[in-house]
Symmetry: C2
Subunit: 464 residues, 2 copies
């Protein structure tokens, strides 16, 4: 195994790596709160300076209409492959503040965990990249490939200006692969790599009936009730027996799962009672027949109702036929479904299902494409080797059910394959009080990324 | 035709009848507004004094936990039949005030209509009763039957204390028939009598899924969505083809319509485009196959959705599987359906339809029984003759789709048959700005009620 020099360097500097992260975590870079705008900028400047100290040749703020991103690069040799790292330096708000055991911006170590807002999401995982580069530069004087890094300042407030940035900076951000460390592993002894994210299509539907609420005594029985019509439309979107989405054409572009992908997913441990507890204490799973619970949550498309409203919802009884009723629908997409196609298909099915006497209005909202890098991709295989070297165990391959919009932007705008190498743990309480980063995972993460550049450089050279 | 003496008296005093009503309408007896509590009491005292002047031997306030009612009686002879009149002396609020052409409590006559809050609902129709009694007493010295009158002070704020009053005063309120003048006729030249009111059963349903909103990316596809489950349950409550309610046993206690009732209802004019316009500009009628639009609205039971809510309803997209979703359901009932039976039956059907993975909770709310006095009942026939004498035309028989809770209380608590003799018009704008009472209808109403006592006394004597 190569990389023993890197491991040795990392082992010798663990305490410093932790101390540096603690200092970085003191800056309250809450992007959603305008009162912290100056802190987000100060955080970006702090990161820029640290990147230069860590060995990047160039580091600078990239201004957007919102909070600044930070760009850095160490260009080694134009004939070598190039990797681009994405992360974010902003953090979530901290309320409810009184549930924090130690203040969110006064990092505290307890039981081997570093507690602070942003510890693992994502300042800690960004800092791992700085230290991995430093390990290479200080050990060997150089990186084995060209490295670029873009660290966003608005991920926790919706990445609203990030796609603009990607489009504007696409030349400078060009790379052979995108590496993202904003995810996690299944457990400390279950290393894993996420190779896919689902996309999103969104439709809002409103069923219009009478122009005003009608008295249900005077009109009830002769007027189509908009809530009843909406319920009928919504209920018809799933087959109650098979759990499949009934929208014509919904599955047309779904790439069939190959046997290998299914077998890899099947290795991920699944405990039914644990899942039911995690899912808010439900009594049974549901979904599409013919697929496992993990497949339903990650590699199969879905149609979900996110909200419904209409008529009277106050105390007691109000005897009306309401003027309208509405629902919000989002679909999770898998390759090769496209958001606009699916949204239009769902909207068409809704219109077709409208009963007489009501008027249906649909509105297609912003979506995102699914992202998938095949397990066989050289970059994924390189990341798997790096993980195995550090964890002493082959990683499992997972696919996540949610989306990471910046990853989707890179995939769609630049056609770049993505590797998601994160070392968070399921109990890290991201977005919640008492967020933490397990320090053993932090140190392992630095070494995984250091090893990753060693594995990635020859793999990408051979592939090109 | 008898009653020419009464007609002559009424014709001679039309101007006074109008002037008196104008004075009564100046008191702003808004029961829903605590700031008008003293006005409601002053209104009751004013009415009490006017009842004594009109010929009642006894008149007094009846205190409740809310606003006072007024009771009056003129007991002629214990061997004669007794009628009880119900009305209300409180009025609706007046907002939006700036839409009134003349101030709501400064009654103004325009184009033969008296404009004021409470003009027809119900102070004007209560005042008709005073004048009808006065016509008898001043023309002949006596009424042909015993007459009692109870005028409520809280009808427009939900009659919340009225059933208590009926129960407490049931002995004093005992009568052979209840006469209510709080309804209307189909048109000035289409006299009509309402012989039935639908009842009400109310159920609220909540579908509980996960204990908290779940991320639809992470969990979507493997968890039963409470909105989808609710939609399926609700959609299943009606047959989409026949429009019938599918709840097992729902129609078991519905008394079959006899051919005569259907023929009488079929005489009521119906204009489809007029109905669609009235019903808020809908594009088509809906409902139970095999019945006319009027039958569906009045003599057939219904199940309506009054409200639905769950999950996110703000702007944009929130990708959750919500923790719960709820709906409010009311059924309109016809004889011999009972509110508790129907509510329990509907709740049971809802529980039976719950899919796996969610928990359904139902809550039965306050309802009311249907009320029906057969067209053949001597009191209805007496009222029909009185109407024909004044309008010069036989009245049509209608049944209303809504409920009048005090009428339901009298029917249920005291088993008293009800006759609904009102002379409002469909365009009187009750509960809205510029409420009015057509003065020709007001004068006719006084004469109808005067004639009614002449017709009712022998009819009830013969029936007993």
């Amino acid at each position: 195994m190569t990389g023993e020099d890197l491991d040795k360097y990392c082992a010798a500097h663990e305490q410093r790596f932790t101390d540096e992260l603690i200092d970085f975590l003191r800056i309250p870079s809450i992007s959603a709160d305008p009162e912290h705008a100056a802190d987000v900028r100060r955080n970006a400047e702090y990161l820029r300076d640290a990147l230069l100290q860590a060995g990047f040749q160039r580091a600078e703020l990239v201004e957007t209409s919102g909070h600044p991103s930070v760009y850095a690069e160490r260009m080694v040799d134009r004939s070598k492959p190039t990797a681009l790292v994405y992360g974010h330096h902003d953090v979530q708000p901290v309320d409810p503040l009184d549930e924090w055991v130690s203040p969110p911006f006064e990092p505290a170590v307890r039981d081997g965990n570093l507690h602070a807002r942003g510890a693992v999401d994502d300042k800690g995982q960004v800092w791992m990249h700085l230290k991995a580069v430093q390990a290479h530069v200080e050990t060997r004087g150089e990186l084995p490939l060209n490295l670029k890094l873009i660290v966003e300042g608005e991920e926790e407030s919706g990445s609203v200006h990030f796609e603009e940035l990607v489009v504007a900076e696409r030349e400078r951000l060009q790379a052979d692969v995108l590496v993202v460390s904003d995810t996690g592993v299944l457990a400390p002894d279950l290393p894993s790599l996420c190779t896919g994210l689902r996309g999103l299509a969104a439709v809002e539907v409103t069923v219009h009936g009478p122009s005003l609420d009608l008295h249900s005594g005077v009109f009830g029985g002769a007027v189509m009730n908009p809530i009843a019509a909406l319920a009928r439309i919504i209920a018809g979107l799933h087959d109650p027996v098979t759990g499949r989405v009934t929208v014509p054409g919904f599955y047309d572009d779904v790439r069939p799962l190959n046997q290998e992908d299914r077998e890899l997913l099947a290795r991920v441990p699944y405990d039914e009672s644990e899942f039911l507890a995690e899912a808010g204490g439900i009594s049974a799973t549901a979904g599409e027949e013919g697929f496992t619970v993990l497949e339903r949550r990650s590699v199969r498309p879905t149609l979900e109702l996110n909200g419904v409203w209409g008529g009277y919802s106050g105390p007691g009884t109000k005897t009306i036929i309401p003027a309208s009723a509405s629902a919000k629908i989002t679909c999770r997409l898998v390759p090769d479904q496209l958001p606009d196609d699916i949204a239009r298909t769902v909207a068409a099915a809704i219109h077709d299902a409208a009963p007489r006497g009501v008027r249906v209005e649909t509105q297609i909202q912003h979506g995102g494409r699914p992202v998938l890098t095949p397990v066989q991709h050289p970059a994924v295989q390189a990341a798997a080797r790096a993980m195995a070297q550090v964890f002493g165990k082959e990683p499992l391959f997972t696919r996540e059910g949610g989306s990471i919009p910046p990853v989707e932007s890179f995939s769609r705008v630049m056609g770049m394959p993505a590797v998601l190498v994160g070392v968070g743990l399921p109990d890290d309480r991201i977005h919640a009080p008492n967020e933490k980063f397990n320090l053993a995972m932090y140190q392992r993460g630095i070494r995984v990324l250091a090893h990753l550049w060693d594995e990635l450089a020859p793999a990408l050279s051979a592939a090109s």
